[in-house]
């Protein structure tokens, strides 16, 4: 993998992480979700996702040893809100972050379960099956949460959740699902 492609890759992932955290933060802002802003965020995410995938395709399948460097890029994302996917505890490899990881009340699981990264989104979700199961839980869902306690407990911040596996899962997700929140 050339250095330039790696850089673009890392940049794309970082932007994705920042975008998701912004999307999440906008749920709690006064005045409700802003359609224009949400649309722009989803366009950026789409750009970043497309660039990430096109650069990955050009270099072949990812090698296991490269995971830690991607973790650095993901954890470099700052300002991730505490409110993350409730009840959806995605196991993740030990992050080797350059910067201190954002506040993480639950703590990373610390399991090295690389094979779980290649799971499809549906299998990773532990929420009840239903119409909403197609949408990964770390994106806002139209449905009211049924586990308010878990939600307030706040799972790991999005910055550390958004690892390579999550990014892969986004490829299965239509980013336009961001908009139906309205």
């Amino acid at each position: 993998m050339s250095a330039a492609i790696m850089e673009v890759n890392a940049e794309a992932r970082r932007i994705l992480a920042v975008s998701i955290s912004k999307l999440y933060a906008s749920r709690t802002q006064r005045g409700g979700l802003r359609l224009h802003r949400s649309l722009l965020l989803s366009l950026v995410m789409k750009s970043a996702r497309d660039i990430y995938h096109s650069s990955r395709e050009s270099e072949g399948p990812p090698v296991g040893g490269e995971q830690p460097s991607t973790e650095e890029a993901m954890d470099a994302c700052s300002g991730c809100p505490g409110e993350a996917n409730p009840g959806h505890r995605e196991p993740q490899p030990e992050p080797e972050s350059v910067e201190p990881a954002p506040e993480d009340p639950e703590g990373c699981d610390g399991e090295i379960t690389e094979d779980k990264e290649n799971r499809s989104p549906a299998r990773q979700s532990r929420k009840r099956r239903g119409k909403a199961s197609a949408a990964p839980d770390f994106l806002p869902s139209k449905r009211a949460r049924l586990e308010p306690g878990e939600e307030r407990y706040a799972a790991a911040p999005l910055g550390s959740c958004c690892r390579a596996g999550a990014v892969d899962s986004l490829s299965a997700l239509s980013l336009n699902r961001v908009i139906p929140a309205f």
Binding site: R30, G32, H36, L39, L40, V44, F182
Partner: protein, 446 residues
């Protein structure tokens, strides 16, 4: 290029005073400024839902060289925070836009809007009051009827001038999405209110219904690709209006064509330059403001980095493009992270359509002279607020050696942004809102 100076330095603050020069409440942040059509009045709206109207003092004959100052004329609470119980959403009281109606009698009328409701306000003066009622005394207490032995006719007596604002019409429940603009028609009978997906036409007299004239909501919201960002009526043609989109295009519509103006009659868009493509191309091409020139021949649009002037007769590219702060092009990623890339800057024409103005960061604002092609960067700051001072042009250093008076890109304060400005319709007087402060600058008298 004329220099802007201030013979009389003004620093207006909204009614609730700032505790110190650096501390202010969120509610004091000015969210819109607008001169009325004569330039006699200047209205500001803020995040707290208040409107403050300034009036220009009559120029005194004894001091003809002293230009009229703007003093507070009226202050009122236009909108209050509300709650939409159905959607469990708070509706912000922030005033998004104010538009004046041309004056037709002694009273002044303006439209103010928040995210969901437009209100028509009447601002009128009262300098007389009736005195000598039969049934109540001067304090308003009801008199004992048995003490009334004669009848008198109440007479109007002079009193201290009082300016009162009353809400005459409330136009509500017509917008599902957030209202971003309002525009009064040249027919002075109708106006449009615009949200992210729809434009509604109202009659100023009728509040319980409006006509939807543009609807870009797709059948399936997942297919949404663009939203409406601003709309404005043509200044002379009462059947023409334009609306801008988040994709960087402008559509001109003719209301005579059909009841629903989904088909534009002109479509203005400049093809994207592929060499400048980045993650953020869509965001920076989103138009934040659209304004017709006073003569109705041109359109001006503002996107994140540029201001463009379009000839209504030429749809495929703008007539003129002005770079506002191109040095930010390399910093888009940081501006995305700190949310500055979502800032919506406005743009204004001067009275003769020869100069255009827009804001930037670090309390800078830029003016572009369309004839001489010269431009200037000025700063709205307290340090510059000295009497008889002339605003010194500022310069941003984009690399290489920084000169003494220049400021480097990295030193710019992105929390100090000038989003809202307005230009007097006939004279060279500008009002610039810098967060919670209002600066009024006048041109040097020759």
């Amino acid at each position: 290029m004329k220099c802007f100076s201030r013979y009389l330095p003004y620093l207006f603050r909204p009614p609730s005073t700032i505790l110190s020069s650096t501390c202010h409440t969120e509610a004091d942040i000015i969210s819109t400024v607008e001169f009325n059509s004569s330039g006699e009045l200047l209205a500001t709206g803020d995040k707290g839902g208040r409107v403050v109207v300034f009036q220009r003092e009559q120029e005194s004959k004894s001091q003809p060289q002293r230009r009229g100052e703007y003093n507070v004329y009226s202050t009122f609470q236009s909108h209050e925070p509300e709650f939409d119980y159905l959607k469990s959403l708070e509706i912000e009281e922030k005033i998004n836009k104010i538009k004046w109606l041309p004056q037709q009698n002694a009273a002044y009328f303006l439209l103010s809007t928040n995210d969901k409701t437009v209100k028509l306000w009447k601002i009128s003066e009262r300098d007389k009051r009736p005195e000598g009622y039969n049934l109540k005394d001067e304090d308003g207490r009801i008199r004992d009827p048995s003490t009334i032995t004669s009848l008198r006719v109440p007479v109007l007596q002079p009193m201290d001038l009082m300016v009162e604002a009353t809400a005459r019409r409330i136009f509500s429940n017509a917008h599902t999405y957030h209202i971003n603009s309002i525009s009064v028609n040249s027919d002075l009978q109708t106006f449009i209110s615009t949200d992210d997906l729809r434009v509604n036409l109202w009659n100023l007299e009728i509040t319980d219904r409006s006509f939807n004239i543009v609807d870009i909501k797709p059948a399936n919201m997942e297919e949404l690709t663009e939203v409406i960002t601003s709309a404005e009526f043509h200044p002379q043609q009462c059947h023409t209006f334009a609306y801008s989109s988040s994709k960087g295009s402008i559509r001109l519509c003719d209301m005579r064509q059909a009841a629903l103006c989904d088909k534009h009659c002109k479509y203005f868009e400049e093809p994207e330059d592929p060499s400048t493509r980045s993650f953020f191309s869509e965001i920076i091409s989103s138009i934040s403001d659209v304004k017709f020139s006073h003569n109705g021949r041109y359109l001006m649009t503002r996107d994140y980095l540029t201001v463009k002037v379009w000839d209504l007769q030429m749809e495929n590219k703008p007539l003129e493009t002005y770079q506002v702060h191109d040095y930010l092009r390399g910093k888009l990623c940081s501006l995305y992270e700190n949310d500055c890339i979502f800032d919506k800057f406005e743009c204004v024409w001067n009275g003769s359509d020869s100069v255009i103005m827009t804001g930037s960061y670090n309390n800078f604002f830029r003016m572009f002279d369309r004839n001489t092609k010269r431009d200037v960067t000025l700063e709205a700051s307290r340090e510059n607020s000295k009497p008889r001072a002339i605003l010194k042009p500022r310069k941003v250093c984009v690399g290489g050696k920084r000169r003494k008076d220049e400021i480097s890109v990295d030193s710019l304060d992105f929390s100090k942004k000038i989003l809202h400005t307005t230009w007097h319709p006939h004279e060279n007087i500008i009002a610039v809102a810098a967060t919670n402060n209002l600066y009024i600058f006048q041109d040097k008298v020759n």
